[in-house]
Structure formats: C-alpha cells, structure tokens
Amino acid sequence: MSAPLAEIRGLSVSYLRDDARSFALRDVDLDIAKGRRLAVIGESGSGKSTLALALAGLLPPQARIEGSIGWPGLAKPPVAGRDIGMVFQDPGGSLNPVLTIGEQVAEGAVRHLGLDWRAARSHALTLLERVRIPDPQAALRAYPHQFSGGQRQRIGIAAAIAARPGLLIADEPTSALDMVVQAEIVALLDELVREAGMTLVFITHDIALASGFADDIAVFQRAQLVEKGAAQAVLAQPAHACTKRLLAAQIDFSTPRLIDGVADV
C-alpha cells in the first residue's frame, strides 16, 4: 500500500469551558488512504465533525489542538478549497442567500485555478451539468432560494469540487434531506469521487448509508476513535460495543415500534 494521504497522530481538540477543558476529540490516530472512501461514523457529539474541521484547518481560534496531522501524500501542506473540498450538512445554510449560484460555484475556481471570472463561470456551468442541475445556464444567474434542498446540496458539491481538490470531506451531507434524495446525493458523490480519483471522507451517523459504499470505516464515540478497519470486516465482525449498537439501531421493517400504543392507521 502506498503512503497514506493523511496521517493523524495523537490528535486532541479541546475547548476551555468554565475553567474546565472539554474534549471534542481525544487522542485520535487514523490514516486516510489515498483514493479510498472512509466513512466516519458516530452519534451526535462524538467528535466526527470536529475531525472534518481539523482536517480542513477550519477549527475556531479558541480551539486547543494537540497532536499532529501529517500529509505524506501531498508535496505541500494542504490549502482548504484547493486540496480539500468540504460539503456541509445544511444545504440551505451553506449557500449565501444573496449571491448568484454562478458566483458561488465559480469563486473557488477563480481563487485556486487562476481563472478569470468568465472562464470560471463556464467552468461552473460544466460543474452544474455534472451534478445534474436542470437548466444549468439559467442556474448560474439564479439564487439559492430558487432550488430545492437536494438541488442546493448538489450545488454545494459543485462548489466544493470547483478547484479540483484531491480530498473531499462530506460532513453529514444527506442528514437534512429525505430518503430518496439521500440516495441520489450518495450516488452522485460516489460517481464524482470515482471519476476524479478523489479521496472521500464521508461523515455520518447512519451506518447503513455508509456501509453501502465505504472502503474503510472509523467509528467515533464520545470524542474517541473506538474502532477502525476495512468496511466489510467492521460490519461483519464489529469489535466495539458502540459499533454493535449502531448496527443494531438501524431501523427497518422488522424494527419494533418506537412509540407503543399507536393504532395502525
């Protein structure tokens, strides 16, 4: 196996709250293999989003960071946007409501690819076609409120990959969307990553969603990495209680009712 893209060693992120340190991540060791898809799984507050921000260098200034993130797979330390693309959870909030879609997709390309605005806009047009936005030409001049949640997330993905980053981090990209749209977004990410040979870090609380297309899985619980390994191995033989619980918590038709005493409608 070649050198990993990123080597996380002893990474701890903490915040000072009422004179006590509270850890968002504690002593994490993890490699991100180049060209593979890593699913980072955990419940709310398990530190998985902090990991995403730490990788992209976007932690707030008051965060205390210990340990290291090395990038043996890159010649230079990564720059957010150019080397790392980010897709966020809320597709409504992650687009600026008063700027056109064209500007928001193109601005990353202007910054990192050295394109002028005209060239960047035609690049944005190609990207919008690739993420299958209907009538991409008109979409360039449109504003976020004119699109549905799923479409906004596609636009967010287009903006995130505008500068052709080698690593794409998707932080709960489908949690705010309904089931059908979720599947479409996952399929789109899968396709884009495959085509461009990107490395994908997919952060989710939904182990079923991750199990479908991840190569590797890392499970987080209360700021700590509790289990990591190849997806098949982890899913078939979960070693840690947390992973077992996450697997057991999947809701399907055999799941007992969450609310008792509700008559069938």
């Binding site: 992209a56 976007l58 720059v79 957010a80 946007g81 150019r82 790392i84 693309g85 980010m86 966020f88 809320d90 409504g92 909030g93 992650s94 687009l95 600026n96 409501p97 008063v98 700027l99 500007e103 601005e107 990353g108 910054r111 990192h112 504003y143 409120h145 004119q146 967010g156 903006a159 995130a160 505008a162 500068a163």
Partner: protein
C-alpha cells in the same frame, strides 16, 4: 426590473390612504389645538376689538364649519394648491419650494456621509469582531451617538468657524455675493460642511454599530464557514459574504432614518441659521399658521413615503428573496 415596477405600483396605491389619514388627522389636530391665526395676529398687534376679530375670521374663512373647510382644503389639494400662508402672506407652495431644497441638500449629504462612512467603519470593525480596532470603533461610536446634535453643532462652530475660521458660522450661502453656477454650488457646499457634519456624525454611529452587529451575526452563518472552506481570500469573505449580508438591515434603517432626520434637521437648521424646511415648520407653529403647517406635514409625509419606496426598491435589488413570490427559507 419587473419586481421593482410591481413594488412601486403596490407602494403608490397603498400610500394614498396613508396620505389621506395624514391630511385629515393634521387638520383635526390643528382644529383641536387652542388658538388660530387670528389669535396669533392679534397677539402680535397687542389686541383688537371683537368686530376686527370677526372680520378677520370671515376673510380667512375661519367662520365656516369644520366639514366645509376640510372639503375646501382637500379640493384645493387635488389641484396642487396648498393654500395661503397667513404669517408670510404668500402661497404655501412657494414657501415650501423655497425652503425644501436647503433641507434636502442638508439631509441628503448628511445621510450619504452617515451611511457611507458609517458602513465603511462598520465593516472595518466587523471584519474582526472583538479585536482592538473593533473595540475602539464601537466605543467611539457609542460616545458619538450619545452626543446631542445641537451640542455637536455648537462645538463644531466654536472650533472650525470661530477659532479656526475655516468655515462660516451660519447660513446656507454668502448673502448678496452675486455668485452663480458652479461658484454658487461651491459656496453652498462650503456653508453646509459644518451642519452636515453635525447631523451626519450622529447617524454615522448608528450605521456603524448596525453594520458591526450584522457582521458579527453573519460570521456565524454556515455559508461563511463554507466560504472559508473554499479557501477564499479574507477580503472576499469579509466583503462579499459577511458585509454583503449585513448590509440588508442597514438599508431598512436608511428608510427609517429619513423620517428621524427630517425631525432632527429642525435643531441643526436652528443652530446654523439655515432657512430650511424644519425652521419653516417652527415658524408655522409659532404663527399658528394652520395652512402652512398642514402643507409642511403633507409634504414631509410624501417625502418619507418616497424615500421608503426608494429604500424598498434598493432592498429588492440587494436581496433576491424579496418579492420573488417564494417564501425565503
């Protein structure tokens, strides 16, 4: 463009009842106030007999019934006739046409100063909330905001007109200077520097603080995090993503300020002896000049309506979510 037209039409239609309420309300309010123009006139004469009073009332039409006078007044308004000023013995429209431009220049320049410099300094402060620059600007603007405009006006006069002699102490232009064209414009501009500063700097603080607060909020938005994740230049994040969104409430404020500034101009016009609209209102009140005062109030109301219409159009241009027929989410 289509949105602006729809907005304009809707606003003009809705402003008709507003104006009607203003007209009738002012008319009734002045009616309820004790004393009329004849009382004020007699007071200036030192008294008069009952015959003279009745004669004067009759000649002004003050002996007619309330409803009759109101109908007459509204009828004249429809012909753009604002009536006759009792104190100045001239048509009200002429007086307003003479005084309004001075105030419009004063207000326009003060608003431009307050808005441009205020939002600029607000962006400087809001670019790094909590920084030393931010704290200095925020504290300074608070101090400025606490200062009354007449006091600021007097201090400016003392320093820049009396001591340094850079600017004139009062007036709108050099009297009987015979200046025309560009020289006259320059003369008026020179006279307006101090009053515009006195009026503008107070409101500057308001715009500064609003911009700063808006930016502090905008920094917490997801799209700013996304902009940072795109690795954009800091300047672009501050201006296009943070300040651009914080600008929207400022534009709304601009419309509200127009009305407040019209009131505030009375004080500044008095301090700087500018023959403006605010002083005219003051003179109309002291002369119990009902037609003049009603005319002034109607024109002020129209002014505020027009300014707010312009503000709404500007807002619609700045915020694509407005008037698009879809709910903003």
């Amino acid at each position: 463009m289509h949105r602006a037209l729809t907005l304009t039409r809707r606003r003009i239609v809705s402003s008709i009842p507003v104006l009607l309420i203003v007209i009738v309300g002012t008319f009734l309010l002045l009616e309820a106030a004790p004393g009329d123009a004849v009382d004020a006139y007699l007071l200036s004469l030192g008294g008069g007999d009952a015959g003279l009073v009745a004669e004067l009332r009759q000649s002004y039409g003050l002996d007619q019934s309330l409803l009759k006078r109101l109908t007459l007044y509204v009828g004249a308004l429809l012909r753009f006739d604002l009536g006759w000023s009792v104190t100045f013995d001239r048509p009200v429209l002429d007086l307003i046409a003479e005084r309004l431009p001075n105030t419009l220049w004063l207000m326009g320049a003060a608003t431009a100063l307050a808005f441009s410099l205020g939002s600029f300094l607000g962006i400087v402060a809001g670019a790094r909330p909590g920084s030393l620059t931010d704290r200095a600007l925020s504290t300074g603007s608070l101090a400025l905001y606490a200062v009354p405009s007449f006091w600021l006006g007097l201090v400016l006069v003392l320093v820049f007109a009396v001591d340094l002699r850079w600017f004139p102490t009062a007036g709108i232009e050099t009297i009987a200077s015979g200046k025309t064209g560009l020289a006259r414009v320059a003369d008026i501009a020179w006279h307006l520097v101090l009053p515009v500063s006195a009026l503008g700097f107070i409101y500057l603080a308001l715009f500064l603080r609003m911009m700063r607060t808006g930016m502090t909020e905008a920094w917490r938005q997801d799209f700013v995090l996304f902009a940072r994740a795109k690795g954009l230049a800091r300047r672009r994040i501050v201006l296009r993503h943070v300040a651009r969104n914080a600008l929207l409430p400022l534009v709304t404020m601009l419309g509200l300020q127009a009305a407040a500034m019209l009131g505030g101009s009375v004080v500044v016009e008095s301090v700087f002896a500018i023959p403006g609209f605010g002083r005219l209102a003051h003179e109309a009140v002291s002369g119990r000049d009902a037609p003049l005062l009603t005319g002034i109030i109607i024109v002020s109301a129209m002014l505020v309506i027009v300014v707010n219409l312009l503000v709404d159009i500007a807002y619609a241009a700045l915020d694509p979510r407005v008037g698009s027929g879809e709910a903003a989410s």
